[in-house]
Symmetry: C2
Subunit: 181 residues, 2 copies
DNA sequence: TGACAAAAAACTGTTGACAAAACTCTAAAA
DNA sequence: TTTTAGAGTTTTGTCAACAGTTTTTTGTCA
């Protein structure tokens, strides 16, 4: 089913499943059977297992010992909890980025904002989302706190999922980052 | 070396290694060899691998594909980054806990504070640390944001390590939580 | 019909072996 | 002396099989 190269299987599988989950092709609450997936992808259960651990870290699946993996649920409450945290963390990003930014950061930010506007004008919705995340990512790097950057990266898949669930308020929280320039 | 029961090996191994790393018995930057550790603990490499993934999630080891696992470094800068984030997240905990706390939460908090004081009086240093974490944990639960709770739990091992490294300012950040009562 | 117990099936946990990549050491050439 | 090429070693990645647990099914009794 999915293409496999001479790269690492676990990461490829995690990537593949990640996309499936974010796009809602796998139902929340659904069980993931190692053996079935292994056969489907033409690999053994080892890499599947490791991929599931990666997805657990990104909070896309929940692993319960001896009773397998399930796609995590994204309730309205969960989205609120997530945004409550993102709001807090991005406000920190904005403050630190404002302190530590360089000319190079600013130039990057301007390019990124341009890209967002272009996508908006063109009505390119997927591109718009990606541009928003790119923008956030640049801010994160400018904040010069790699741990914070990493934590937000880990939350990105959850955030993308939440966006799929609630398309309306998605910009509110990232907007915090605007204080940056 | 380490005791193994009919429970899950990966979690036990992760627990075991976690303690070793936090207590500084394994050097930062040190390589962890799967085969050596497997023989040492009398298990195969499978569970070792899964344990390493758990430790990666807790940021105690860094996994680099095809070149193994290393204990993460805890530089002064890293500790600052960590506390910068903890400060932010615990301020959120305090606010939400203040909003959502129940009588039961308050009673628990009071007991926990008592325990901290007792340990301080007795000069029970390890107990004091544990009491502080218990206290933080109760606050986290009272905040009624399970995602936030989980994120802080994931950070706990790193926090404990940072405490080992800098014993002086450890209370500063958790102190945020005091606004709670 | 419904509850319960035993048997069967399905699934995860663990292991040992093999393949492939990364690293180390040696030796020859510039 | 330093650099480079290659053989040999070490270590991680992947697989297939087996063991033990959990879940489902089947069958019996009230």
């Amino acid at each position: 089913m999915a293409f496999k190269a001479s790269h690492n299987l676990d990461e490829q599988i995690a990537e593949y499943l990640s996309a499936q989950i974010i796009q809602g092709k796998l139902e929340p609450g659904e069980r993931i059977l190692e053996a079935r997936l292994a056969e489907e992808l033409g690999v053994s259960r080892g890499p599947i297992r490791e991929a599931l651990r990666i997805l657990e870290r990104k909070r896309l699946v929940k692993l319960i010992p001896r009773r397998g993996a399930r796609i995590t649920e994204v309730s309205a409450a969960y989205i609120e909890w997530l945004y409550d945290i993102l709001n807090e963390l991005y406000s920190l990003v904005a403050r630190r980025a404002a302190e530590n930014r360089t000319q190079k950061d600013l130039a990057q930010i301007r390019r990124s904002v341009k890209r967002i506007e272009d996508c908006a004008v063109r009505g390119d919705v997927p591109g718009y989302y990606d541009a928003i995340f790119e923008y956030a990512s640049i801010g994160q790097q400018a904040a010069r706190n790699p741990l914070l950057d990493q934590m937000l990266k880990d939350l990105e898949p959850s955030t993308r999922r939440a966006q799929f669930a609630s398309l309306s308020l998605r910009t509110e929280d990232l907007k915090q980052n605007v204080a940056f320039f």
